[in-house]
Symmetry: C2
Subunit: 639 residues, 2 copies
């Protein structure tokens, strides 16, 4: 078979590809990452590339207009190699960049030490401790065995009903004890109710005890390095989840993972991501990999299944059953994660197929279970997870919001990375008054918070009606008819962008957002209905999730995403997932609390079969709602 | 370097050996087993071989007389190859034979089911159960995860505070559940307080659940195959411990194991022995290896260290500290033992360096801890282990009896295998009236019980005095002066033996036995002294250990090995080690009892530094004792 070379710019990576291979396949072989939501089915239109030279054959598609095709634009998955080719991968198609760390993820973030410690709700009791032991040497009257001697001393420092030591450590024990003249450091890790002597070392190295808390998001993976002795956060890193090319959302990943080989591949990708983050954290902090003794991951149910190579197939089949809710603590090396060779890995427990350990973490961090006040927690991501409750009960659900909040399904949507418009103000007629772009510079596209802002603004200034349709007489020349005869609003002409083309908002984009926000709002109504409550009863609304902190609450109320409550009732949790993982890492009591009082306590409401949800959903497909009386402040604003 | 061939008869195994290699090294390379107590140092005289042809060079030694050397006799470890050689390994030098199974080791031995079961002291609750589960399939209102669904059902059958499932099983779980239409068999193994779901299989295979109980003796390894559901013993097998060529007693093995490579080799040897026994048991019973779910080993502290490749060096260094008393339950495959791939291995806990899990097993089987009566348990082997106590307390010690009871250090001594004289009666003048030989046939040598019998008889008929010296005027022509000018008594002339030479008893042999029996008796006196008791207070004397059952109690009293108590107070425990292991295998409560109420409860008395032992030992070097009043029945018999 004829073989050609394919060169990818700007990486300048070249790979040989057989005739007929798609550019997406060639990119994968070259190690060049190209966004693909549909994993190559040609239906998402995200894998746009620019063919600079060479011969290709392209399938017809609805995502590119004539001018673009003339310029050389192509969908990588629909374009096959017919000669030596040079291809440029535009920035919006690349996802290899570093995602923005939410501000609360910054180094030395103070929350966990506020929540964990002497005077806080959870005592400082990390999942791994290093304890220096100065043992009395054996004598003829105290001739206890080496292991029992060590256990006796450990029990004086750390009571534990069940204590264990593996054969590997036991085999080294007599040497370590005598080499160190009965002075040694024991590394003690909790595996559920069991305290394991994970390792031991001669002398006092008890100060070298670090942990990593990880939030495994469907899109972004965030890791914090923590000094387990002092609770101090030393550094934080984030990267995009390398599984994205195999499926942008959880459903696509589950489908991919139904093939055991692909499941193993997905596991390797996330393990490599975690290893990359850990290596970077450790290097920045100037410590050794073997000083990291425990890693705790939080993530949605699917992400945790993929991390452990568990079959997630039944998560998407009615009645939506995960393989596991609460995973065992294992040796990190068993999964392939490189920390201390005998270091431990645990995960926060999940609640149900679509309410994962990330939401359990949010609840832990919010503190909503410690107050009799009714609270509502909303984690906005690809799915909108909602938790309602107080110190006595919790009820939760997952609203399939779709990818709009992550920039998916939106013509000029993107993740909240460099170039994303996160805030925007419009004047009458739709002129952009000001905008905030991640990392400054020219805009590339709209991330979730920017999208909500735009739609809220367009509604406020009357460019769209309550059904999300453009009002041509209010939009001036910014409105045009684009592809497929669809009205689209030009936010930025191409010369003002880093994209090389106009940044527009189509009516489909608005409809996608309306469906997303409607789903979340309806989920909240269902939870309240389930407990015979009303929004007025909700004293606190906690906003968690990737883009939560950038959200402008009033805009989100205007479009009907958030309930119309006084602004002081809203609080941002930030990345609750990584913060909750960190709390559990620093306090065994917090982990137990997450299991016994959060995960086990939550009643899960399956919305897909819930009559109230099915009946009421269409009422939410308005801005803010068909029943405007549910939004009195919005109604008053209009008046 | 010049290389020659060495052929070993009767195996007819040939191996090539470099010039200068010893015959012992060549035999090891050829896979021919040769007894060696001293591991090749030339000081035990056990590795006698017959050079049939070829050139060798032999070091001078004290073990062979001129006639023997002329016949071609040589010590394999002191003889090096100088040409092609043919060597015959006499039967008494071989240890590859199958040791005699004590009668209570026979198949379908009834004791464990008497001790374990509904009406017995320990309930039937095996360390591994197979439980058939018929799960309700998940529904939208009962959408518990697969793992939690299985755990919920298991908890209905088998309560357990802590339950765990490893990643490997978790990964297979969704498939097994659905392939078997929610009907499956869970294999549940106890690891201390934790119940592990060791494995699962679709359908009902709960009837295939077998365990193996093993007694790892320094000399003999005995294994029983047990149906864990019914408590029935299906078969029993024994073989010699293949470690013997690397050192006949525990001290020699510990010295050998101080080299990590040799330690690994010792581990492999015992693991191979266990694998051989398990394979033979399984084949005989017509079951599969994977039907064996749990293996429980009892043995002295050193044997258990060697099984797990733990460093035993400190066992023989003051203050005699083992690496571990109570070993963790591990996967059998981690040690190399072939049962079910995920099957578990546990060991009975030890008490101290020289009081091991075999003695804990003896105590368990004897039932001495369940009565307020004072009992004395004596386990006679290379070491004599003694336990004194009742239902409230236990005190124990180890008397270094030396190898005499196992036939070691005795000119014509041997293990209790084919050809061993186990009982003997002499008439006046020393004529043999009758004798019992293991497996019938002509005698090869004296095993422990035969040795005690001979010395008891010689004392009774006046051929030896109370110091163990021959009385020439009572011995007739059976007494002669042998090597090193030492008197020796001819029990059987060569023509009546299978040995090809006379079976004799030397004065040194008698002195060795006197030291052994004196050590055991003095140990018992020390224990009684420690608790201010006397032999009269002892209501039961339990005799355990390899050759215990063949012992004739009156002879053992005559020579002062056992205290002079009414015969009805003595009971034989038999191979308590394998029986105790079986009890623990069949009842988790028995294992817990062995740990909490036997091993943990025992006070260990170190005799080597105990003043009473040091002071009183020499009084025991008489037959039966310098203070004959301690043996009133013997005194009366003399009168």
């Amino acid at each position: 078979m004829k073989t050609y070379t394919v060169t990818f710019l700007p990486d300048n990576k070249t790979v040989s590809a057989a005739r007929g291979k798609t550019l997406l396949e060639a990119a994968e072989a070259a190690g060049v990452t190209i966004t693909s939501v549909c994993a190559g089915d040609g239906v998402c239109g995200k894998c746009r590339v620019l063919v600079k030279s060479g011969k290709v054959t392209a399938q017809a598609n609805i995502f590119l207009d004539r001018r673009e095709i003339q310029r050389g634009m192509a969908l990588a998955c629909q374009t096959s190699v017919e000669g030596d080719v040079v291809v440029e991968v535009p920035i919006e198609t690349r996802i290899g960049g570093v995602p923005q760390l939410a501000s609360e993820d910054a180094v030395r973030f103070s929350r966990p030490s506020e929540l964990v410690g002497e005077k806080a709700c959870f005592p400082h009791n990390p999942l791994c401790r290093k304890v220096f032991l100065d043992l009395p040497p054996p004598t003829i009257t105290d001739c206890l065995s080496d292991k029992e001697r060590v256990f006796r001393e450990i029990r004086r420092v750390q009571p534990a009903p069940v204590m264990q030591m593996g054969l590997a450590v036991l085999r080294r024990l007599p040497g370590v004890l005598r080499d160190g003249e009965w002075k040694l450091t024991a590394m003690l890790g909790w595996r559920g109710e069991t305290l394991e002597v994970v390792d031991m070392e001669a002398g006092d190295v008890s100060d070298r005890n670090f942990g990593v808390a990880v939030d495994i998001g469907t899109t972004t993976v965030v890791a914090h390095l923590v000094n387990l002795n002092t609770s101090e956060t030393l550094s934080a890193k984030a990267k995009y989840n390398s599984q994205i090319p195999l499926g942008e959302d959880v459903i696509a990943r589950i489908m991919c993972a139904s093939n055991p080989l692909r499941r193993e591949k997905l596991k390797e990708l996330i393990v490599d991501d975690i290893n990359d983050l850990v290596a970077a954290l450790v290097q920045e902090a100037g410590i050794r990999l073997s000083d990291v003794t425990f890693i705790l991951c939080a993530g949605n149910t699917t992400m945790i299944h993929l991390l452990l190579a568990l079959d997630p197939s039944n998560i998407r089949r009615e009645p939506y059953v995960p393989a596991v809710r609460s995973c065992p603590t294992v040796r990190a090396s068993e999964v392939g994660i490189s920390i201390h060779p005998r270091g431990l890995l645990s995960t926060l427990p999940c609640v149900a197929s679509y309410v994962g350990g990330d939401v359990v973490a949010d609840v832990l961090v919010s503190g909503m279970t410690r107050s009799p006040d009714l609270s509502l927690l909303i984690d906005l991501g690809t799915n909108g997870e909602l938790v309602l409750g107080n110190n006595e009960w919790l009820v939760c659900c997952s609203a399939s919001a779709g990818p709009a909040f992550e920039g998916g399904g939106i013509r000029c949507g993107m993740h909240a990375t460099r170039g994303a418009i996160e805030r925007i103000n419009l004047a009458e007629g739709g002129r952009v008054v000001d905008r905030t772009v991640v990392d400054g510079g020219k805009p590339l596209g709209l991330c979730g918070s920017g999208l909500i802002d735009v739609v809220g603004e367009l509604l406020r200034i009357g460019c769209i009606d309550r059904r999300g349709r453009y009002m041509p007489d209010r939009c001036g020349d910014r409105l045009r008819i684009g592809e497929a005869d669809e009205p689209e609003f030009v936010l930025f002409p191409s010369e003002e962008t880093a994209l090389g083309r106009d940044i527009v908002l189509t009516e489909s984009d608005i409809q996608n957002l309306i469906r997303s926000k409607g789903s979340v709002f309806m989920g909240a109504e269902c939870l309240l209905d389930y407990v015979d409550g009303t929004f007025e009863d909700v004293r606190h609304v906690y906003i968690a999730g990737g883009f939560g902190s950038y959200l402008r609450i009033p805009r989100a109320i205007d479009i009907g995403l958030l309930p119309d409550l006084p602004l002081e009732r809203f609080r941002f949790v930030g990345n609750g997932s990584v913060q909750g993982a960190k709390m559990a890492l620093l306090s065994r009591e917090a982990l137990k609390y997450a299991e016994d009082h959060v995960a086990d306590m939550m009643t899960y409401l399956e919305l897909s079969t819930h009559h109230k949800y099915i009946d009421g959903y269409s009422s939410c497909l308005f801005l803010p709602h068909t029943d405007i009386e549910k939004f009195p402040s919005v109604m008053k604003g209009k008046a």
